[in-house]
Symmetry: C2
Subunit: 213 residues, 2 copies
Amino acid sequence: MTDTSPKVFIVDDDQDIRSSLSRALRKRGFNVEAFGSAMAFLTIYTPDQPGCLVLDYGMPGMNGLELQAELKRRNYAIPIIFITGHGGVAESVQAIKSGAIDFLEKPFRQDALDERIRSALQTDKKRRERLQMVTQALDDFASLTEREKEIASLMVANPSDASSKMIARRLEISHRTVDHHRARILEKMHIRSVAELVDLSSKAKLFDESATL
Amino acid sequence: MTDTSPKVFIVDDDQDIRSSLSRALRKRGFNVEAFGSAMAFLTIYTPDQPGCLVLDYGMPGMNGLELQAELKRRNYAIPIIFITGHGGVAESVQAIKSGAIDFLEKPFRQDALDERIRSALQTDKKRRERLQMVTQALDDFASLTEREKEIASLMVANPSDASSKMIARRLEISHRTVDHHRARILEKMHIRSVAELVDLSSKAKLFDESATL
DNA sequence: GACTACCTAGGTAGTTTTGCCTATGGGTCC
DNA sequence: GGACCCATAGGCAAAACTACCTAGGTAGTC
């Protein structure tokens, strides 16, 4: 999906902080891109870019928390490190509970930020790897016909009674037809056993409502 | 494991707060037990008691964060709601990152605490349900012999090549012996198919290092 | 009308699993 | 020595799965 190197996005309304942060991070080998407002970031960023976000909490217009909420609403899961000059406890708690990696108060040591960024990029990398697997499974699953999905769901729901005969009895069709569907399901999902289907379904939550990207 | 009703544990060094909090919470129907220090709580609490912990951050002796760390060290996963009079951002961030449900600054509205407590008790309930399943699987797994564990691991590692013949070839034994072991494994794990074994193993992380209780 | 996709279902043959049985040899425990 | 657990392994038969094949009916599309 992406082979570009990870990037540290900075969003801060203060020009001085933007440039000094950018300079410091570039010097340490990070790939950096800075924005003066949440909107500027939103117009450029696409979720297929690996990286993390260093986000100022207090900004005119859309503030950091609002940007975080907007990213969440769009299902963009980029890891966020908040920085703030005057944030309170309630704000920081809200930010972390909403999934931020960290919340640093200015002034902070550059080392502390570096370490958080490294951790955030690592988190992003792992998430992307997991995401790729899940996306693949979801795509494969979407390619099943309704009947196939139904049968797959029955097999997953009760793996021990997933024999063709059992399912055939429940659906009141021939077990040979179930055989046929099972073969199609495994083929389309690129797997070779019901066990793998069960595994995939629990990892990709094929039959759950929620699917966190 | 437990059928006692969930309890709200309060740990605060301030006698006035303890009694007013206890009174308020009892009036709202919660089962409450209060302690004046982290140590007092630790000597009484056992992890089989369902509930949550309302924890003062700043206390003489062992403070809230230290108690949280100690509970973590002991693998006691009771949900924690911090309350604090003078906590900073760094402390709150640390607490939430370490798994606390919430971090409230005094003074707070009683309603806010109630809502957090309800949420915490819900979290605890779900965790206990999951834990029970995982514990059962872990116990069952522990009852397997070494050879059985080895074969179970091979079956889980590659569900599609988990046929007796495949595994027999890899272990250079008869496929009938593998049949025999497979039957023992399924029996001891209280399941009826390799698919369920794969499922259990991924849910209980039988073959991973970490197992969060 | 031809084409395609899907659900249905059967034939045949080979492979695998499952459940029942027995059995040998190596340990350990009392 | 006897009881017990474990790993090994085979016989046998029923059930299930797998991989190949054909084929009818329905519905939608070009």
